[in-house]
Subunit: 332 residues, 2 copies
Amino acid sequence: MSVTIKDIAKLAGVSHTTVSRALNNSPLIQEDTKERIRVLAEQLDYTPNFNAKSLVLDRSYNLGLFFTTLSKGTSAGFFYEAIRGVNSVIQDRYQLIVKGIDDYTHFQSITRKSFDGMIIVSQSDDDQAFIDHAAAKGIPLAVLNRPVDTQGVLNVLSDEEQGAFLAVSYLIEQGHKRIALIEGRSGFKSAQNRKDGFERAMKHFQMNIPPAYRRPGLYDLESGHSAMQQFLALEEVPTAVFCCNDEMALGAMKAITESGRHVPDDISVVGFDDTVFAAYVTPALTTVRRPIEQISREGALRLLGNIENKRTETEQLLLRTELILRESVRSL
Amino acid sequence: MSVTIKDIAKLAGVSHTTVSRALNNSPLIQEDTKERIRVLAEQLDYTPNFNAKSLVLDRSYNLGLFFTTLSKGTSAGFFYEAIRGVNSVIQDRYQLIVKGIDDYTHFQSITRKSFDGMIIVSQSDDDQAFIDHAAAKGIPLAVLNRPVDTQGVLNVLSDEEQGAFLAVSYLIEQGHKRIALIEGRSGFKSAQNRKDGFERAMKHFQMNIPPAYRRPGLYDLESGHSAMQQFLALEEVPTAVFCCNDEMALGAMKAITESGRHVPDDISVVGFDDTVFAAYVTPALTTVRRPIEQISREGALRLLGNIENKRTETEQLLLRTELILRESVRSL
DNA sequence: CTGAAAGCGCTAACAG
DNA sequence: CTGTTAGCGCTTTCAG
């Protein structure tokens, strides 16, 4: 068995209470007693039993990081950046538990005891049941990436509707009139927001959108590819395509190239997310940057603030998206 | 405060022991007593306190998933697939704790108490200290992606040296004589293995490798790009480039295109990993597929086996890599 | 400044 | 089949 504070107490000739206090640097204990005990602990290679601590302190030292899904529809880059962002602020004070919301059949294991706080990277309105459950349990919460107005819940997101608006406005300003849309995964909030931005821009410039110029997508390469193939089969092929993420944009570019056409000479393409490869495909992809790593860092930071000060601020933080001009759009 | 087994006991008119047994479905308890207690627990919305369970059972219900680094050099796709693979097998029996080894300044918080088992996706020999520590603590271990021969440690990896050998042999068989190498991140085992495979193939076919035909890389887009630029500046530009991962291959392709040349007509490019976008870039990338998700799934599966049967098999599992032929190589 | 005693919620002998 | 009792390792009153 491993060493406990009692073992140290025996060797130091003090009570285990004193050891506990000394190791927690309590001001009640004399400096030299503390030092003696610390040295002893070090020698014995003592490590606190966090389960015991958790039990008595009613803290788990766990932070949950939840995604709508791990198995379908979350892109690798998004996932990676979100974890990095959170991980960069928690250091080793907390353990980061990563999970997909759709991995749970019931939420009963989600309790205050098992999570000191939770960060929910929410991509769908369907996550609301999960969020409500956690909020009802009194778990400090930060919801990222999707607007919520649950009381006491932190909310950090980027203005995707505006980003899409900018991107599509840009296409129009470049003289494009026949602009098609490849939508995001249905049910994902981001898909809705980006579509809204698209529509607002089109409306703003009084352009009409023929039904054939909209195609559903799944946020993956393949669906972008096949949606574009449909556009290419039309009588009047669009001169520009707004894709609701970069992966679909890449799939679309592939379809265009395969048909013997060129980007951007024949058809312009715009993506969304500014994934790491966007600058490196040929032609480099014009896209909308969304500060995912920053969102998750800010969310984590504020959440830790709430946890450690036992506050429950209901802050909402909206970060700006940015249009990144590259080479995949041609001016007509 | 939340309901405990004692609350249930009081209401059911039994001892808390009986409740504990009933809820754990002990054969010692009569069926109808069990049922009564279960119903009561349901009504009260009882959830077990896992900290208390952990303390007495000496299990944490935590599985650690460690990467060499989260902040530098691990590619998003790799990371994503590894987590997915592991997550798909653990269901909700365990919590998955994700961490970078380089996040730790000291390992003392890594104990048997805090992890029922650990999966270490090891990309560097430098991880060995961490592995040794965990092994010494008696934590059931699965090391993925890098060979280790520590006793009692499961080891699952793919034959990357062989994969690189296949890829380079293929280039040679297509008639290429001037073949350059963009290496992986120095210190990463995979970088060494892939380089070894490259060299073995070159040697096998009695080709020589001028020093100018090797460039260090960092596994990212940018380093592939700049390495390729160097090759393009040479008097004798190579006719083919073997890149130690797909991201560098994409960077290299970018540099080639920028120089006014074409892939594969002027220069052939081969990557490694078969990242999700490899099939969608233009031209589609010929590359070596490495079954990351399968590796992590197998690793997790075997680890759970070891944990739950209290075995410590020292199994080593070598999965095959596979050359995926696409369009980025030209036959001379 | 230090110690004795109680208790966090649960499981596991041991008795009946 | 059920209950009594002890104890996992730690923190926290309360008393000195």
